[in-house]
């Protein structure tokens, strides 16, 4: 008896009520799951996503937000105590002085854009331990559910786990290259 987890992602314009992405990787019966959390200047995911190296971020600039969530299926009695960080166990800066990695756990989807999302209020630029991560709610209907619960007792989803890289004009130096590798992690208890 064990839950099965998959990483999912919404992309494209907000649609529906409550709003979610037009393209839903991994939602419901879709199995084109998100494969990573690469921040880039292309709003896509799944097996045919644009490589991060082909969608580089400039200055001033931002990546599109990553609107990701986790789908729980399989057999379990209860999923609870979920914590999330997109930057676990790396104690150096995200990339260099002045570049930010911001995040939030949200239910209200908005169309991804390359402007800084003011709703992403937690700074993950420096690594955050998983146990210090943001608390995450659940829903059996979708990550966009406006009334998430603290535990899941049937197949369902987390809220949106949203992150974005932001390069403000104030970054003084030039930079060309790739960030150090990072671990995106959602921890939870399963019964």
């Amino acid at each position: 008896m064990a839950a099965t987890t998959h990483l999912c992602e919404d992309n494209g314009a907000a649609t529906g009520s409550p709003a979610h992405g037009t393209t839903r990787h991994g939602f419901g019966g879709n199995t084109d799951y998100a494969l990573n959390c690469n921040w880039k200047t292309a709003d896509n995911s799944g097996a045919s996503e644009t490589a991060a190296s082909a969608a580089q971020i400039g200055k001033p600039d931002c990546s599109y937000e990553k609107w990701q969530y986790v789908k729980f299926t399989g057999t379990f009695s209860r999923i609870s105590n979920a914590k999330w960080t997109p930057h676990h166990n790396v104690f150096t800066d995200f990339c260099g002085a002045g570049i930010f990695l911001m995040g939030a756990v949200l239910s209200a989807y908005t169309t991804p854009s390359r402007t800084a999302n003011a709703n992403l209020t937690t700074d993950f630029t420096k690594g955050v331990y998983a146990y210090q991560g943001l608390p995450v709610g659940f829903s059996t209907t979708g990550p966009e559910d406006a009334s998430p619960t603290t535990e899941l007792t049937a197949a369902g989803y987390t809220q949106y786990l949203v992150s974005q890289t932001q390069v403000p004009t104030s970054v003084a130096t030039s930079f060309s290259g790739q960030t150090n590798g990072m671990t995106w992690i959602l921890t939870y208890d399963e019964e």
């Binding site: 990573n36 150096t92 331990y129 930079f175 995106w184 992690i185």
Partner: protein
């Protein structure tokens, strides 16, 4: 039981409960005082007496880094996680064996997995910049 056999048993027990290698890393973290994590890691630079007093998992890894590989802590920890995520049993076992040498085998392997399983889903993230 030989050390390698104990490590094999540890991994087999976790696997039987549906835990991935990263899940097992989290289990190990939680055995060494989750409430004692420092807000931000500070290298201990060879003075490791308090490591054993507190049983702090991160300090233990720092001790390993200090004495065994001389690598910065973030690299050691990153590599341990990398081994777990890659399913690299050989490298992960090396870290576990070093931990056993530091802690004593009873402290590491004498408790069974709790009924509540702290699990995880992990993926990688990166970005490219040009400016």
């Amino acid at each position: 039981m030989a050390l390698q056999s104990e490590i094999d048993a540890f991994i087999a027990a976790g696997t039987a409960q549906g835990l991935s290698l990263p899940d097992m890393m989290i289990q190990l973290q939680q055995r060494f005082g989750q409430t004692q994590y420092p807000d931000e890691f500070v290298p201990i630079s060879g003075s490791f007496q308090h490591t054993f007093a507190t049983g702090n998992f991160y300090d233990i890894l720092a001790f390993i880094a200090d004495t065994d590989t001389a690598m910065p802590f973030d690299q050691v920890w990153g590599r341990a996680w990398g081994a777990a995520m890659d399913g690299d049993l050989n490298m992960l076992c090396q870290y576990l064996m070093q931990m056993v040498r530091v802690l004593g085998r009873d402290n590491l392997f004498n408790t069974s997995f709790p009924r509540f399983s702290a699990k995880s889903i992990v993926t990688s993230g990166t970005a490219f910049f040009t400016f």
